[in-house]
């Protein structure tokens, strides 16, 4: 390993490119960095595979929500139905992500523009997110977070109006 103190500017420096024997600096500059190829890549063969890739990429985007579902199901199963901070956070995330995706639907559709089956892909994306949302709702329901029972509205039940007035007691 050759290490040399050069000049007064640096205390020390390490010259990786320096060859044994002390070749002058600058001689290595023509070589380029590692992995540098002098030859240019051909363009003709790439076109076909690119399209397929694009299509595949678009399908990936469209199917992503559906692929999430088994994972979500597993998480749901693991989280249980008790209401505590982690399951609640999970349910929130499960509900929030499809909602976010649906809100940015136009952006996704734009990304799918290059695809030839973009209508189908859009639909699949929509259905996937819808399913995710439904799953989140189902989870909420299972956890008892949805006000679907009369007990959830009990606090708002007004007392019935009194139709008769009574009074009296033991004779004074």
């Amino acid at each position: 390993m050759a290490a040399a103190v050069r000049g007064r500017r640096f205390k020390w420096s390490l010259e990786l490119a320096a060859a044994p024997g002390g070749r002058p600096r600058g001689a290595a500059e023509g070589r380029g960095p590692l992995g540098f190829a002098e030859r240019q890549l051909g363009e003709g063969g790439v076109h076909e595979s690119d399209k397929i890739l694009m299509e595949k990429r678009c399908w990936d985007v469209a199917l992503a929500p559906l692929k999430q579902i088994p994972m979500n199901l597993f998480i749901m199963y693991m989280a249980g139905n008790t209401i505590s901070i982690f399951p609640a956070m999970m349910v929130c995330m499960m509900g929030w992500r499809p909602l976010q995706a649906l809100m940015s639907l136009s952006a996704t559709l734009k990304a799918l523009e290059s695809s030839s089956r973009r209508a189908l892909q859009g639909l699949v994306f929509l259905v996937g997110n819808g399913l995710g949302l439904a799953l989140a709702l189902y989870k909420c329901q299972a956890m008892g977070l949805l006000p679907t029972r009369p007990s959830d509205w009990l606090a708002f039940v007004a007392p019935p109006q009194r139709m008769e007035f009574t009074g009296g007691g033991l004779i004074l």
């Binding site: 606090a155 007004a158 109006q161 007035f165 009574t166 009296g168 007691g169």
Partner: protein, 1029 residues
């Protein structure tokens, strides 16, 4: 598994102050400073009511169950911290109406010993009127005090109809000794002296006389009295000569005089058949004066009879005409003599009362009767002795003409020397009673010799309304006590009025619109008033800030009464058995007004109703008291303003017939007074107020107004329907045969009660609707057969409109007294189980089921489905003396039962512990519902006593009232004492804690704001620098 943090709080109960006694040692932890029983308050430590055993290796399920228990029990602790003692609560102690009183005959004496009709022996501080010590005996006739005698530092009392003889040390109130005597109707007791020393106490009963040593109470001798079947022995006399004279009478025939030797009880002399055919009784009519001379008064012949007990055997007649004395017709004359010391003879002077206001001072000496002085207009007379001097005190009305009525209520007390009847100079006390017209009833005098040998005295006067006044020359009231408060019979809490400014604002919105300009001007004027009030407040604050803190006292008087922010301060209107009404400010216990109703006989029944609250400014609030005489059955209404105690201008209707019951309707007249209906014994109804408006409204809703009357004597419950012409017709009747059982209690629901939740949420999230029948009555009966095998109590839930029996049950082998609370959809009652020999609670809850029949309106006439009744019983370790449920403004806060124990403590028991849905085997669903698994015993935890060591003697009732804060309920317990406090059944969820750290929070807030500002500035500078680079 790490236990949850709340399990690591074993030191928490240290901060609690729970019990007067029996508190576990850890409650009164000695660590943390010098404090006897009052632990130092930890600044931010919250009280935990209990200590759960932490089980590190326990199963998760068990830990969860324990956690659930922790959650459930956590809000149950209701103890106070040391520095909260006396902050929200106060207690006032009373002794009752005086029966006997003794004032020491020396100027420096500090106490007076009293025995009262409430069976209390007490010592009062004569300087301040405070109770030095007090002993409360049983409230029943068993505890009644029959006689009290004072000898030196000892007070001797005879109680329980002559069964118990006690000696008290009067300085500290300790019991010297106690003796139980033989049975026999008690007549009289007296101290007996022998040769200048008082050594014995003699007790005379119907058939025997016994002599006891004063030092230890042991019996010296007991002697049977001859001919005790026919002879009534009523008088006992001795004067240190070694003999005791006992006088017996055979009414309208003759007298028997027995003389016993003190030494061995032998009858040394027996004089029988002293003819006295005119004499019916010795009490009051006869007295012993001088050296054992019996003086009797005969109405028929208008003459005095005298007879020396030691020498004579005949009664000598002295006609009174010789003294120019005349009798009032129909008045039983009385003779009042005095014996200053039992070892010396009685005074030869005595008072003869000839009419209610006419007293005469007479002297019988050496066989001669002489007239010393006449008191034509005296209200009360009394003797008092100091040293060798005996004086007579005479209380007269100041205006001579009207001694009996005394309309200006100003009285004089004068002293007269008994030997001559001369008035002592400079001994007049002049005092004025309140204008309500209560007359003086008892007079006790404390005389003493001043340094210059003149006579000085103090006087204790008891008036008809049981007020005690201690007076000093020349008429200074040293102190006064309102002893009628020892027997409160009815109580209501009324909101205080708003301040003037608030009331003005309220009035602005309450009134009807009177044009745009008018409204605008009104608004301006009310804003001006507000501004004025605010500046006055600021000025007061500034003014007070300069004074030292100790001098600033927020004294409450009738002029600065105003509602506080949260309506925690109220006016307590108390009706006492003597017929005196009180207005007491609830936060301090100050009596703000009192009013004595003269025409109230003892033993009347009262019903107090609030017709108009303070919410209707400018109309004054209005309370109505119905008073019904027990004997004549006649009733009258007294209408008054509960804030100022003044009689109202509104004229109540004159009630010609006895009133059976009342009903306060929610409808109002145009002056916002609720309509009061009174039903009389002909079942006709009188309305008050009876304006046209009211009558029209009544006509409209008459078909929906029902009365129920319960006649306990005949065992009859009956319902009446109001007709349009204000008569009634009977609509139902339930007979409970009196041969088998008698009705003891009937309880409806409180009309002011507000139930927030119409049902209960079950574990599966369905709703179990409560059956909230506002017309429901709970009737408790007790069996007439009291044999422990056959006795029972019955409970009936009856609809007050239709008479339908909704539920009835009989508790076998159970006995009263039954205490009951009826509220919302539940009834809790307590009784004695004769089989298991314990007190038990039973709770009944009524539910409609999972469907509501009619959610919008409740009509008793349309209820096809009977409610489901759930029932559960519990063992309670103590008897109880009163029970009530907490009540809050909106009914959101959980309910507690306030249980007054005979020990004087008030236990706050969560209703959740008395819940018939408590499961025997907890399931997932019951756990979801937070139901506590059933355990039969309800324990008394000292931390749940809301009155820590402020016990309430002989508690008779607890009154609860909602405050403006949903979390807070005001509680007044009354009996011999009165105690007021606040309870928070679900803790103070709507108020910041007392020890809330304002400084920390605000400093953090300010710090953050400051830091934000600085960092913003720094960030700007940095950005600028970067831009320059």
């Amino acid at each position: 598994m790490a236990p949850p943090p709340c399990f690591e709080a074993p030191s928490a109960p240290r901060g609690l102050l729970g019990a007067p006694a029996g508190c576990p040692a850890r409650c009164l932890h000695p660590a943390g400073g010098a404090h006897a029983g009052f632990p130092r308050r930890q600044r931010r430590g919250r009280p935990f009511g209990f200590e759960a055993p932490s089980a590190p290796g326990a199963r998760p399920g068990a830990a969860m169950a324990a956690g659930l228990w922790a959650l459930l029990l956590l809000p149950l602790a209701a103890a106070v911290y040391e520095d909260q003692v006396g902050k929200f609560d106060w207690r006032q102690q009373y002794v009752g109406k005086l029966k006997f009183a003794s004032l020491e005959a020396s100027q420096g004496s500090k106490k007076l010993i009293v025995a009262t009709e409430k069976n209390v022996v007490a010592a009062l501080n004569s300087r301040s009127g405070e109770i030095l010590w007090r002993h409360v005996d049983k409230g029943t006739p068993e505890g009644a005090i029959d006689a009290m005698m004072i000898h030196g530092q000892d007070a001797i009392t005879v109680s329980n109809a002559g069964r118990i003889l006690r000696s008290w040390e009067t300085n500290i109130g300790g019991l010297n000794w106690e003796m139980s005597l033989d049975t026999g109707s008690f007549q009289v007791a007296s101290l007996v002296g022998l040769q200048d020393v008082v050594k014995y106490v003699a007790v005379l009963k119907k058939a025997a006389i016994s002599l006891h040593y004063l030092s230890n109470g042991h019996q010296k001798w007991v002697e049977h009295l001859p001919e005790s079947e026919s002879t009534q022995y009523q008088l006992l006399y001795s004067h240190g000569t070694g003999v005791i004279h006992v006088l017996g009478i055979v009414p309208q025939s003759h007298l028997n005089i027995l003389t016993f030797s003190v030494e061995d009880g032998e009858i040394t002399k027996q004089v029988i058949r002293v003819a006295a055919p005119w004499l019916k009784s010795l009490n009051g009519v006869c007295s012993v004066v001088g050296e054992a001379v019996l003086v009797c008064m005969d109405m028929g012949t208008h003459s005095l009879y005298v007879c020396s007990l030691e020498t004579e055997q005949e009664m000598k007649q002295i006609p009174l005409q010789s003294l120019d004395l005349e009798f009032a017709d129909g008045f039983q004359p009385r003779i009042l003599a005095t014996q200053p010391n039992v070892i010396s003879p009685s005074r030869t002077q005595f008072f003869l009362q000839l009419s209610p206001s006419h007293f005469s001072l007479l002297q019988y000496k050496h066989g001669l009767l002489s007239h010393l002085r006449d008191f034509q207009q005296a209200a009360l007379v009394s003797f008092a002795t100091t040293g060798e001097k005996t004086v007579a005190a005479v209380l007269t009305c100041r205006s001579e003409l009207e001694s009996l009525t005394c309309s200006n209520q100003t009285y004089n007390i004068n002293l007269y020397l008994v030997e001559t009847g001369q008035r002592l100079l400079d001994t007049t006390i002049t005092f004025t009673l309140e204008q309500s017209g209560a007359k003086p009833q008892q007079l006790y005098i404390q005389v003493f010799l001043k340094k210059d040998d003149s006579v000085g005295y103090r006087a204790l006067v008891q008036t008809e309304d049981h007020m005690l006044i201690f007076l000093q020359q020349p008429g200074k009231v040293v102190w006064s006590r309102e002893e009628s408060l020892a027997e409160v019979v009815s109580l209501e809490m009324v909101d205080l009025p708003l301040t003037g400014a608030q009331a003005e604002l309220e009035g602005e919105f309450g009134k009807k619109a009177d044009g745009l300009l008018g409204m605008f001007l009104k608004r301006l004027s009310s804003q001006l008033i507000l501004l004025q009030a605010w500046t006055a407040h600021l000025w007061k604050m500034f003014y007070d800030a300069r004074k030292p803190r100790s001098q600033i006292k927020n004294e409450i008087n009738i002029d600065n009464l105003a509602r506080d922010e949260f309506n925690l301060q109220k006016m307590m209107v108390m009706v006492t058995a003597s017929g005196k009404l009180f207005g007491i400010e609830s936060s301090s216990g100050t009596i703000l007004w009192k009013q004595y109703l003269r025409n109230v006989k003892p033993g009347s029944s009262f019903k107090l109703m609030v017709q108009r609250t303070t919410a209707h400014f400018p109309h004054p609030p209005q309370c109505t008291l119905l008073v019904k005489d027990r004997e004549t059955k006649m009733s009258f209404l007294y209408v008054f303003n509960p804030i100022f105690g003044k009689r109202s201008q509104v004229a109540p209707p004159v009630l010609k017939r006895p009133i059976l019951q009342t009903l306060l309707l929610p409808i109002m007249d145009q002056d916002y007074a609720k309509v009061l209906l009174l039903i009389d014994d002909e079942y006709k109804v009188t309305a008050f107020p009876a304006t046209k408006n009211v009558l029209r409204q009544l006509e409209e809703i008459a078909h929906s107004i029902f009365f129920y009357l319960v006649d306990a004597e005949q065992g009859k419950l009956s319902g009446f329907r109001l007709k349009k012409d204000l008569t009634t017709e009977e609509s139902w009747e339930v007979i409970i045969p009196t041969e088998v059982q008698r009705i003891v209690t009937v309880k409806g629901k409180r009309s002011s009660e507000h139930v927030h939740s119409q049902g209960r949420v079950m574990g599966d999230r369905s709703v179990l609707y409560k059956s909230l029948n506002p017309n429901l009555l709970a009737v408790v009966t007790e069996s007439t057969d009291t044999h422990h095998e056959r006795t029972f109590i019955g409970i009936y839930l009856i609809d007050g409109v239709t008479g339908r029996i909704i539920h009835s049950s009989v508790q076998k082998k159970a006995k009263g007294p039954v205490h009951m609370v009826h509220s919302e959809n539940w009834v809790v009652y307590q009784y004695w189980n004769t089989k298991a020999r314990r007190n038990e609670f039973t709770v009944l809850e009524l539910y409609e089921g999972t469907e509501q029949y009619n959610a919008t309106a409740f009509s008793s006439l349309d209820r096809p489905i009977l409610p489901q009744v759930l029932q559960q019983s519990y063992i309670f370790p103590s008897a109880i003396s009163a029970m009530e449920a907490t009540i809050t403004e909106r009914g959101i806060t959980s309910r507690h039962l306030l249980i007054g124990l005979p020990s004087g403590a008030i236990l706050s028991l969560p209703k959740a512990l008395l819940d018939p849905r408590r499961p025997e085997i907890p399931t997932e669903q019951s756990r979801e519902e937070n139901l506590i698994p059933y355990s039969p015993d309800v324990q008394i935890h000292a931390e749940r006593f809301i009155n820590y060591n402020q016990t309430i003697s002989r508690m008779r009732g607890i009154y609860t009232a909602p405050s403006g804060l949903e979390s807070t309920c005001l509680v007044v317990a009354y009996g011999l004492d009165i105690y007021q406090t606040r309870v928070y059944p679900s803790k103070q969820f709507d108020v910041l804690k007392d020890d809330y750290d304002y400084v920390l929070i605000s400093s953090v807030l300010f710090g953050l704001v400051f830091a934000t500002m600085i960092t913003k500035r720094l960030a700007q500078v940095k950005l600028l620098n970067r831009a320059w680079r």
